[in-house]
Symmetry: C2
Subunit: 285 residues, 2 copies
């Protein structure tokens, strides 16, 4: 791998002093973190990520609540949520009107000081995500032999298993995976929730260990109001292959249509644009 | 949690320029990493850790080989192992004669530049590890419902599951966990391999998904030569409770005796000091 050469819009970072009292803009051209930060030496931290657009944040309150709950589950110092909100609004104002991805990162901090590291970044949506939104993704199914322990918080910076899954997909000519269990039941995407459309029905897989995605919940609420019949239900790969369309949704990526599953092309249905618009609107409702 | 107040020996850090050509000492009082480092935003990196003592590194070649294999498995740019060796020797020389822990960290680097981050740190053995070596640890068993996928590299910086397990132990008055599977077979410690001594026999649990630890292998080689009968074999918790002694071993923690398992005290046997000395010597053989 060689260094990237294409320029990207510079991210905007605000640092939150974790014991309250101040936020500050961080010059993105300078380093921020120390080599003994437990976020990097131990993956010991949490994150939360969401879209910004038109100077607005989608569902800030919902993310603040989940972030606070993640911090509590990880026994991190209680985050000063008002400071996170303030830093986010400052970063979004500076970012401007364009679409961006906002990430909150909160680590246990330096081993040598015990002081947590906390920052907000707003940056451009990466090119791969834009391409996936426009063109969909080819996916392969992958049996998930692991299941997170129940005491494992949902939104940690543990991403290595996901990276391994994506390498697995790329090695087979696809761009993402959909996990299935040993019995062939569909679980979820590597970083997304699966939604299928068939006739007037929307389905999302129901299976042990699969968390309800907040984006999927928002979409089902909007779809219900628009006359779709929505349900979480056990589905297998044959069900996906027989659906009118299959989608991967998440708080920053989606909706992304699955264009091929294990090599079988899933053609675009007539209502794809309408569905996409409905799902996009739901996130910003 | 409040900031630590006790002073610690300052770590020594050397940075390796990942495209070859240079190493440099990094002032530990300055930040090193950028907020868009994929090592922190995605846990996307590898590490390797080992002891240094008397100006020596235990088994440098073995660690270099495993590090290279981990990098390859993660599709990171091939590390210039000679530069890692050079940086390590420089850091160890500066560290001096005392015992320390050396960690190699290698991440996919900044999202905005695509340039990997690579550094070597030598630091003091933390107080908790020193206390565990001297006094042993109380452990509880924890059923591991997850298993890493086979394509998941062994030494990534994914540590969040371990942190969750340790919090689980602490909440129950212990300091560590020993994982068991659904059938009650012993797997391993959260960051260590289990070794039991009973009569003239040393055992380590054999179970699917449990990797042979390099430290355990070195210990069995030395123990075989010293007349112990060594075997990897399926064992359950009752076997541990009936053993003369139970140990947790790893490349930096060093033999730590289990003093209680699920609340049952495991008394120190007469040969504990002799066993500890044999295991310590094996790591430096």
């Amino acid at each position: 791998m060689s260094p990237r050469t294409e320029p990207a819009a510079a991210p905007i970072t605000y640092v939150i002093e974790p014991y309250g009292g101040s936020i500050r803009r961080h010059n993105h051209a300078l380093p921020l973190l120390y080599p003994d930060d437990l976020g990097i030496t131990r993956g010991d931290g949490i994150f939360e990520t969401f879209l910004v657009r038109g100077g607005r944040v989608a569902n800030m309150q919902r993310h603040l609540e989940r972030f606070g709950a993640s911090a509590s589950a990880m026994e991190l110092p209680e985050p000063h949520l008002e400071k996170w909100r303030e830093a986010t609004l400052a970063a979004v104002e500076e970012w401007g009107e364009g679409e961006g991805k906002c990430t909150w990162t909160y680590t246990r901090g330096r081993a040598s000081t015990g002081i947590a590291s906390a920052w907000v970044t707003v940056e451009a949506i990466d090119a791969a995500t834009l391409a996936e939104r426009a063109h969909g993704v080819e996916v392969i199914s992958l049996e998930r032999t692991w299941q997170l322990p129940e005491e494992f918080p949902a939104k940690t910076i543990n991403y290595a298993a996901t990276m391994a899954a994506l390498r697995y997909a790329r090695a087979r000519g696809a761009q993402d995976v959909i996990y299935v269990d040993a019995a062939g039941q569909v679980l979820e995407g590597s970083r997304s929730t699966v939604i299928t459309a068939k006739g007037s029905k929307l389905r999302t897989p129901q299976a042990p260990g699969v968390m309800r995605g907040t984006t999927q919940q928002a979409i089902f609420a909007a779809a219900d109001a628009a006359g779709w019949r929505c349900k979480a239900k056990a589905v297998d790969l044959d069900y996906l292959l027989g659906a009118d369309s299959v989608w991967l949704v998440s708080s920053t990526r989606g909706p992304v249509r699955v264009t091929a599953l294990n090599g079988t092309v899933l053609p675009e249905p007539d209502n794809a644009a309408q569905l996409r618009e409905m799902m996009n609107a739901a996130v910003w409702a």
